[in-house]
């Protein structure tokens, strides 16, 4: 990603975009189609892009089979056939990528549709990269990739699960990470029929990935108003809709709202480098053998507090999506950042209660012992953790271990 100046200018009055940065770039070329009968729009969209031979990639899973069934119905009366390859494994390797790329080229396909579950989306992005660059060696790419040709169209069918990066330009295949804004899908389709409710812990963990992405977008030193809008949309939706979906009997409307939030968070995050909260959470998940969302959900408020203490960054505007307009306006501007963090702690507790205490609140609850902290910190620092140093990480992990309150002012 291009280096961006972080020349932040203080304005005379606070506002929803308090410190408008001078320099930023934002690019999210993803079209979002969300709602009832959204999948039925796919043939029209493909025709609008001159596509005649789309390839559907799916895994042999419940979501994959449902996607194919719904697509079969959606393509009726469209006078367009599609081709299915449904043996995409959950863990991709280089051989699978090459095999599918060869299949794509040999059969003259011109677009990919993928159910946004597991590795299929990442594989689809890498296939497009290799086809556009006319190579069969994905390992040659590093850093931010600038494609010489526009890649083939990609349509993702968003699901209630996933990695949280389907709508972004990021892809991870065989431990190699690829990034390019051009790899982002052309269209993200969010159809309520693709929703498969999951257990409470998985639902919560998935939401925490997107919540932390959205918060990181706001906290980034080079934050920009466009990305913040996507992020705030995501945060507000997660705040309002996550607790209700813990109940089995709630309608899919709230789950649909959550998937919209996940997509918005990914679109914003696509323009950011991960910050200290996300990277520390990632290291915690890796060393503690946790789901990424679980780790993020536990440490996020502590990491945000430590970030505020370290950088004196005011998170005032974050109160807006975490609370109501009246609450925001009624809180003194100097206290809004602290109140935002307070809201996050309260939300953690709300989710814990709403889930009948199934959701963990501390690292102790998920058996991540203190003896793992040095490894977690080392992993995080090795991956280029910005802003935080060793003592910051220790502070965050210690407080997250047993939910010890961490005040903004020490």
């Amino acid at each position: 990603m291009d280096t961006k100046e972080t020349n932040i200018i203080q304005h005379r009055q606070p506002g929803i975009v308090e410190n408008l940065p001078y320099n930023y770039e934002f690019h999210s070329p993803v079209k979002i189609c969300s709602g009832k009968k959204a999948m039925e729009h796919i043939p029209f969209e493909l025709a609008a892009m001159n596509v005649t031979r789309p390839l559907v990639l799916a895994s042999d899973s419940l979501i994959g089979r449902r996607a194919i069934k719904l697509l079969t119905n959606a393509f009726k009366e469209s006078e367009m056939s599609f081709y299915v390859c449904d043996d995409v494994p959950d863990n991709a390797d280089a051989e699978t990528v090459r095999r599918l790329t060869t299949l794509y080229l040999e059969k003259n396909h011109d677009a990919i549709i993928v159910a946004g579950d597991g590795a299929a989306v990442d594989i689809a992005k890498v296939i497009r990269l290799m086809v556009a660059e006319k190579t069969d060696d994905p390992e040659q790419f590093e850093g931010e990739i600038k494609l010489t040709r526009a890649p083939a169209p990609l349509i993702t069918l968003q699901t209630f699960d996933g990695s949280g990066l389907e709508a972004s330009g990021w892809a991870t295949v065989c431990n190699q990470t690829f990034f390019s804004a051009q790899l982002a899908p052309q269209i993200c389709v969010i159809d309520p029929r693709m929703i498969i409710p999951m257990d409470i812990k998985t639902t919560w963990a998935r939401a925490m990935v997107s919540l932390s992405q959205a918060v990181e977008v706001y906290m980034a030193a080079d934050r920009n108003p466009v990305a913040i809008n996507y992020a705030f949309t995501a945060i507000q939706s997660i705040r309002k809709n996550l607790a209700p979906v813990f109940s089995k009997w709630v309608s899919n409307k709230k789950r649909l709202a959550l998937i919209n939030a996940y997509t918005a968070a990914a679109c914003a995050f696509s323009n950011n480098q991960p910050g200290p909260c996300f990277l520390l959470g990632k290291a915690t998940a890796k060393i503690g053998h946790l789901n990424l969302g679980t780790a993020m959900g536990i440490i996020l408020p502590y990491a945000m507090t430590q970030y505020m203490r370290k950088t004196n960054c005011d998170l005032a505007d974050l109160l807006r999506p975490l609370s109501s307009g009246d609450d925001y306006a009624g809180t003194t501007s100097s206290l809004r950042g602290k109140k935002a963090i307070r809201c996050l702690y309260d939300l953690q507790w709300t989710w814990h209660q709403a889930s009948r205490r199934k959701i963990p609140l501390t690292l102790k609850d998920v058996a991540v012992g203190r003896y793992l902290f040095p490894d977690i910190i080392e992993t995080a620092l090795k991956n280029g953790l910005p802003v935080f140093d060793k003592s910051d990480c220790e502070t965050v992990l210690e407080h997250a271990w047993e939910a010890k309150p961490l005040n903004v002012t020490s």
């Binding site: 005379r12 690019h27 809008n229 996507y230 705030f232 939706s237 409307k253 649909l256």
Partner: protein, 414 residues
């Protein structure tokens, strides 16, 4: 988050904003595999020295293919064809549009011709005629603004047949929108006011009309907030670079919002006033906004009320009881118009009867209102308005906006 039954949000434009945004153009062109751009602009922009600023920013890294600096308003078809001819003749491979809505629309239309290798623009009119990406196009707006740098629409005038030809396609969106405060630094106060109110109207209508969606809502609120905090400051201190950048960002955000959530009655009536009487678009928007909101409030008053916080700020929001917030929004917009009227020494019109041409003649005579009302029924944005309006309803709103009387709800107009 209100989730509509179905919505689409599409904005493929890369936004590059900042003090030195223009200087990034050579790298951006290189990334788009282009090296010989055709720069198009109008005489006003060239005369203000903005074209020189752009060319200077390009430096020696880019060899400009050609410069066309006499694009007239309304993107006439012969000009589009002539400019496309220059593009081909000079072997250009990209377009840079420096200007307002007309220049950007012209660039989009030229891009169709040169990318599709055709001379017949009309065959691509309407929606769905374009099926593949066009040549690189960079839009540099010089007003804050119409938001054309992020929309997927272009309108070309056919002077021979006296019609306007619309083109709608996601491929029409520029590849890059450059938001640089230098482009609006010398904008006169009354144009700053008019274009900012245009952006405000885009944002307000995108938030309150029927096609709203969660992402356009967020962009609309942010745009309103930026305009509230910076507009009057910039009018008082035209050299405020931060304020200019904020307003330019607001216009782009509002453009992203309305491009996806459409607009309503204000634009139906405003387009008609502009079409029948030749009044400036921004002026019409500013005047008609409070009256149209009042007309619609019985249907979407709760949405209008949510605009009070970004529009008026926390101090006013917190002391206004919930049931009065809708009216407070309408009043605050009227107050904003009043303030702009004072700060521009009367050049910013508060009512339709205050719009004058350069010779001091009233541009919108009262006798023309019935014709305007009739024409407004043919505007597509009517479908997105929360409340239906016929000729009589339009007439009543126009009369109130002409006179400057108190705005009234539709339910009270009957």
């Amino acid at each position: 988050m209100h989730l509509p039954g179905y919505y689409e949000f599409d904005c493929r434009v890369k936004i590059v904003s900042g003090r030195q945004a223009l200087e990034k153009i050579p790298d951006l062109l290189y990334a788009l595999h282009a090296k010989a751009p055709l720069i198009i602009t109008d005489q006003g922009v060239a005369g203000a020295g903005l074209l020189d600023t752009v060319i200077e920013a390009l430096g020696n890294n880019i060899v400009t293919g050609a410069v066309v600096d006499d694009i007239p308003p309304d993107a006439p078809l012969p000009v589009v064809q002539k400019t496309a001819g220059i593009y081909r003749e000079k072997g250009c491979d990209a377009l840079i549009a420096v200007g307002g809505g007309s220049v950007i629309d012209t660039a989009k239309a030229v891009n169709i011709l040169v990318s599709e290798e055709s001379d017949n623009l009309k065959q691509f009119s309407g929606a769905g005629a374009l099926t593949s990406p066009l040549n690189p196009l960079i839009a540099i707006p010089t007003t804050a603004g119409t938001g054309s740098e992020v929309t997927l629409v272009a309108v070309v005038k056919d002077p021979e047949n006296h019609i306007k030809i619309p083109f709608v396609s996601p491929f029409l969106q520029p590849d890059i929108a450059i938001i640089d405060p230098r482009m609006t630094l010398t904008l006169p106060a009354w144009i700053t006011a008019a274009t900012a109110m245009d952006a405000l109207t885009h944002a307000v209508e995108a938030y309150t009309c029927l096609a709203r969606n969660p992402i356009s809502n967020a962009h609309a609120l942010a745009a309103i907030d930026l305009i509230h905090y910076h507009l009057l400051q910039v009018i008082r201190h035209p050299g405020d670079e931060v304020g200019r950048l904020a307003l330019a960002n607001a216009a782009t955000l509002a453009g992203m919002a309305f491009s996806n959530a459409m607009v309503g009655m204000v634009h139906s009536l405003g387009h008609s006033v502009g079409g029948v009487c030749g009044a400036a678009h921004g002026a019409c928007m500013a005047i008609l906004l409070p009256y149209s909101l009042a007309y619609n409030q019985h249907k979407n008053g709760h949405l209008i009320a949510e605009l009070l916080l970004p529009l008026a700020g926390e101090d006013i929001f917190i002391v206004t009881p919930k049931h009065q917030r809708t009216q407070a929004v309408i009043e605050n917009i009227k107050i904003l118009n009043e303030n702009l009227h004072d700060l521009t020494n009367g050049r910013h019109a508060r009512y339709l009867k205050e719009i004058f041409d350069v010779d001091g003649n009233r541009l919108v005579p009262k006798e023309k209102l019935p014709e305007i009302a009739k024409v407004s029924l043919g505007d597509a944005s009517r479908h997105y308005n929360p409340e239906e309006f016929d000729e009589l309803d339009a007439m009543r709103v126009l009369e109130a906006a002409w006179e400057g009387s108190a705005p009234a709800s539709c339910s009270l107009l009957a």
